[in-house]
Point group: C2
Chain length 515, copies 2
C-alpha cells in the first residue's frame, strides 16, 4: 500500500514527505462534472406546477417592468401588453420564447480541452465573483488589486476541479472603474486557458468584452459559438433595469451566453415566504430569458438565481439557512421543467473570516447546489462576508470540497472490483485489509484524500504547529502560485499584442472616472 511516488514520499517523511510529493505532482485538469447519481427532487410534480402557475399569473396579471425603450418595443411587437414600462406577458407567449433557448450549449475556451458543456447532467464550477475586498496571505482584509485578481485567476487555473476561470473574482480597485473591465477580461485570457466571463456593468463594457473575445477567438468563431458567459441581475421585485438589459441585449445579440439571475434577499426583495419568493424569481428569470429570445432566437441563456433570506429582526442577509436551500432545489425543478440550464448556489456565507461559520454555511448551500443539479455554479470558491471579500484560504478550502463533490457525483463503483468480494473472502473474519491483493491494486484511488484536512494524531498536529484549516489553505495557495509558471498556458504573441493594442486604445478613449 505504499507503492508509487506519493506513497514513497509519505513513507519517508510524513506530512513533509507528502508536501514534497505534491510539490512535484503534475497538474491534471478535470473535465467538468457529469453527474452519475440521481437528482434530489424536493417538490412533487404538483408542487412544481403550483409555483409555475403562480409565476405565470404574476407575469400575466401584475406584469414586470422593462426599463428600456427598445426592450418595450420588442415586447409590444411580440404581442405582450405594454403599459408604460410595465409588460404583461401571456403564458403561451412566454413558454414559446423559452422553448427557443437551447437546453444545453458549449462554452468554448481558447484551449478546446477546457471547453465546458452547460446543461444536462453537467456541473461547471467557477470562483467567487464581485468581491471588492480580499483576505490576503497575511489574513488581512483589504481592497482587492489587479495583482490579487491575477493571483486568483492563476489559482483557478491551477485548481483541477474549477472548470471555469470566472469573472470579477475580486475587484481590481487600483484600476479606474471605466477601464477596469478591460484588465479583468485580459487577465483571464492571458493567465488561463479555461473559459471565462464577460463584463456587464455597462453595455459598452459588454461590447468591449465581445471585441476582446473576437481578437482571441476570431470574429467568425465568436459569431457562431458561445465564448463568453456573463451574469446579469434582475432588480427584484420584477424590474429589469436599463444597465442590465443593455448588457443582456449586447450578449444576446452576439449569441453569447448569460446567467439571467434574480438576486433575491427573501423578505426584502421578495416575500417573507419561501415558495412565494421562488414564484416571483421564476417570473423574473423566465421573463428575462424570454426577452433574450426576442433579441436573438436561440441565444444560449442560463436560468439563474441567487437566493438568501433576510433576518426579519436585523435586516441582515442570511446564508446557509434552510429556506435558501429549499429555494435552490425548487428553482432547479422549475428550470428543468422549462428545459433550461441552471445556475444557482455556491459556497456562500455571511462570516467575515474563514471559520466554522463560513464552512457550515458554505456546505449548507453547496451540497443542495450539487444535489439539485445546478449546471453552472458561481462562487464555488473563495466567498466570504456575503460576497464582499474573496479569501485566499477560503478559495483553497472550498475548492478542496468541490473536488470531493465531483468524486461523490460519480457515485459508487458497483463493478466486481468495487464490490471486492474476492478481498472479503481472502481476509475473512478477524483479519485486516491493509495488505491484501485488492487493497494493493486500489490504494491509490480507493478513497478521496482531501488536500487541506489534517487527520493526523493530536500530537502530530501539535508538532506541525497546531494550525487551523485556513492557515494551511493559505500556505497551499502560496505553493500553488509558486508553481504557476511551470504550467502557464502559452498565448500566441500576435494575439497577445492585438489584445494589448485594443486595450491601450480603449483606455485612451475612456475617462478615468465615472461621470
Amino acid at each position: 500500500m505504499t507503492e508509487g511516488a506519493d506513497g514513497e514520499a509519505a513513507r519517508r517523511g510524513g506530512a513533509s514527505g507528502r508536501r514534497t510529493a505534491r510539490a512535484n505532482a503534475p497538474l491534471i485538469q478535470k473535465r467538468y462534472l457529469t453527474r452519475e447519481i440521481p437528482l434530489y427532487e424536493l417538490l412533487d410534480p404538483a408542487g412544481v406546477e403550483l409555483i409555475h402557475d403562480q409565476s405565470m399569473t404574476i407575469l400575466e396579471e401584475i406584469g414586470i417592468d422593462f426599463r428600456d425603450e427598445a426592450a418595450l418595443g420588442l415586447w409590444r411587437r411580440a404581442g405582450a401588453e405594454v403599459t408604460g414600462e410595465r409588460v404583461r406577458i401571456p403564458r403561451q407567449l412566454l413558454l414559446e420564447k423559452l422553448a427557443l433557448c437551447p437546453c444545453e450549449f458549449t462554452q468554448h475556451a481558447r484551449n478546446p480541452e477546457r471547453n465546458v458543456v452547460i446543461g444536462g447532467r453537467n456541473t461547471v464550477f467557477a470562483p467567487v465573483y464581485g468581491s471588492p475586498f480580499v483576505r490576503d496571505f497575511d489574513n488581512r482584509r483589504r481592497y482587492g488589486t489587479l495583482d490579487d485578481l491575477r493571483n486568483f485567476v492563476k489559482l483557478a487555473y491551477m485548481t483541477p476541479c474549477l472548470h471555469h476561470s470566472g469573472g470579477v473574482i475580486c475587484e481590481p480597485v487600483d484600476v479606474a472603474v471605466p477601464k477596469r473591465h478591460l484588465d479583468i477580461v485580459y487577465t483571464h485570457m492571458r493567465y488561463s486557458d479555461k473559459p471565462f466571463m464577460g463584463m456587464v456593468t455597462a453595455p459598452s463594457r459588454a461590447e468591449d468584452s465581445v471585441r476582446l473575445a473576437e481578437i482571441l477567438f476570431g470574429p467568425a468563431f465568436v459569431a457562431k459559438n458561445a465564448v463568453l458567459l456573463s451574469v446579469t441581475n434582475c432588480n427584484s421585485p420584477l424590474v429589469w433595469d436599463a444597465t442590465m438589459l443593455g448588457a443582456l441585449t449586447v450578449y444576446a445579440r452576439a449569441n453569447q451566453a448569460v446567467l439571467v439571475t434574480p438576486f433575491i434577499m427573501a423578505g426584502a426583495m421578495a416575500p417573507a415566504a419561501t415558495a412565494g419568493s421562488v414564484a416571483q424569481l421564476n417570473a423574473e428569470v423566465t421573463a428575462g430569458i424570454a426577452y433574450t429570445q426576442l433579441v436573438r432566437p436561440g441565444a444560449p441563456m442560463v436560468y439563474g438565481n441567487f437566493v438568501t433570506s433576510v433576518s426579519m429582526q436585523s435586516g441582515a442577509p442570511m446564508m446557509g439557512t434552510p429556506e435558501p436551500a429549499m429555494m435552490i432545489y425548487m428553482t432547479a425543478q422549475l428550470a428543468r421543467k422549462y428545459g433550461l440550464p441552471l445556475r444557482t448556489g455556491g459556497m456562500l456565507t455571511g462570516s467575515k473570516i474563514a471559520d466554522a461559520q463560513a464552512a457550515y454555511e458554505s456546505m449548507a448551500t453547496m451540497i443542495p447546489t450539487l444535489m439539485a443539479g445546478a449546471n453552472f455554479v458561481l462562487h464555488s470558491a473563495g466567498w466570504l462576508e456575503a460576497g464582499l471579500t474573496a479569501g485566499y484560504g477560503k478559495f483553497v478550502m472550498d475548492a478542496d470540497q468541490v473536488a470531493m463533490m465531483q468524486t461523490f457525483a460519480a457515485g459508487p463503483d458497483l463493478s466486481a472490483e468495487g464490490l471486492a468480494m474476492e478481498a472479503i473472502r481472502e481476509v475473512g473474519p478477524g483479519g485486516h485489509y491493509l495488505g491484501c491483493a485488492h487493497t494493493r491494486r486500489n490504494f491509490q484511488s480507493a478513497f478521496h484524500r482531501p488536500e487541506v484536512a489534517d487527520n493526523n494524531s493530536f500530537e502530530q498536529w501539535e508538532a506541525d504547529g497546531a494550525s487551523d484549516a485556513n492557515a494551511r489553505a493559505v500556505e497551499i495557495a502560496k505553493r500553488m502560485l509558486a508553481r504557476y509558471d511551470e504550467f502557464a498556458p502559452a498565448l500566441d504573441p500576435a494575439i497577445d499584442e492585438a489584445l494589448q493594442d485594443f486595450i491601450a486604445r480603449r483606455k485612451r478613449e475612456l475617462p478615468d472616472a465615472v461621470t
Copy 2:
C-alpha cells in the same frame, strides 16, 4: 416587522439586545424530527439487490464469528451451520429473524412528552458519544470529568433540537472505570428528562443500567417498554466479540433497544472499496440483529453503522469525504429494504479544533445523514478529533445546524400564505416587502435565524470583538448552563434516593480498578 419581545429588544440594542431577548426566552423543546420531504436514493433498486445479495453470500459462504458459547448454541439450534466460532447463516433464516424486529418503536423518557419514536419518517438527534477529552470553556484540550458530563447533559437538555440525552458524551475519567457507568446513567436520569442510553462496556454494566432504569421507570414498565437505547459495535471484519455480545444479549433479553453497529474504517477493517465495505457491514449488522431475535423475538433493534475511510497513504481515518457519504446513503437503502430503523452518520470530523475543517467535514457527513433518512443520529453535536474530543463550542454550533435541518425537513409551505401571491400583488414591481401586511404577519417565523452565525456588517462584527464562530458558541454554552436551574426537570426525591442507594451499594461491591 419589529413587533414582539425579540424584535423590540433587537431594535433597542442590536446584538446585545438580541442577547437580552434570548436571555429571557422560554425553553420550548422540539418533538423529534418527522420528515415531510422526500428521501434521497443513491442506488437504484438493482444496486440495492446487488449489495444485499453479496451480504447474504458472505454470511452463507464465508460466515461470521460469534465469540460466545451461548450465542453459538442459539445459532446451532436455529439451524445455522456452526464450525468453531464461525457461523454460516442461510439467507432465508436470516431474513426470517430480521422480520421479527419491529420497524419502529418508542423509546420512553421519564417525561412522556420527551418520548421518541425511532423509525419511519422520524429522526432523533443525540450528542457525541465516547470522547475521553473535552475542549473546555477556555478552548483547552484536557481529559473529561464528571462535571463535564453533567454540563453536556444539561446542554443537551437545554437544546430543543437534541431530542435525546445520549450516553457517554464525554468519559468522566475522574471516576474509576468499574464504577463509571453508574455515574453516567445517573447523570442522565437526574439532570435531564429526555431519553438516554445504557452502558455496554461489560455485561454487568448493562445489567446495572437496566436495574437503574427499573428504579426510575418501575420494573413492570421496563419489562414492556424500551427505556434504554444502547450502542454495541461489531469487531469488523465479521466478528462479534464476547463483550459486545454480552451487552447485546442483556439488552435484548430485557427488551431494550440497541444500535447494532459495525464501526468501519474502510480500507482497514473493510475493503478498499465503497460498495464492498457496505456489503460487509450489511452482513455484520444483519447477523447481529438476527442474533438478538434468537435471544428475544421482537426485541427493538436499530440497523447501525459508523463509516469512515482510511487514508491509504497515512492510515489515518478520514471523515467528511465522499465515500463515507455514499456509504451512509447505501446503508439507509438496505435498512429500509429490511424494514429496520437506521442509525448512521453524525457531525463527524478529524479536526482537532472547531475550525473550518471541522465544519466542512461535519456537514459533508450530516447532510447525507438527514437526506438518507437516518432515524437515530449519534454524534449530532460536539464531535471533534475523530471522536476523541467533545467540544463545548462545537456542541453549540452543531446543534444550531441540526435545528436548521429540522426546519429544512419540514419542507416549504405551499399554502396560500406560503405562496404569498397577495403580497406580490400588493408590493408590485420596484417595491419592497419590508412593511407589507404579509411580512408583518410572518416576520417572526418566515426564516430560520441561526444562533451562532454573525451576519452583521464587518464594522459591527469588529466592534463586537471580531470573534470567530467557536468563541461565540462557547459563550452561548456558558449562558445556557447559567440558565439551567430555571428549567431543571424535577425528579421524585424517593426515586432519586433509591437510585443513589443502588449506586452506593454497587460502588461498594465493585473494585476501583479493572483487574
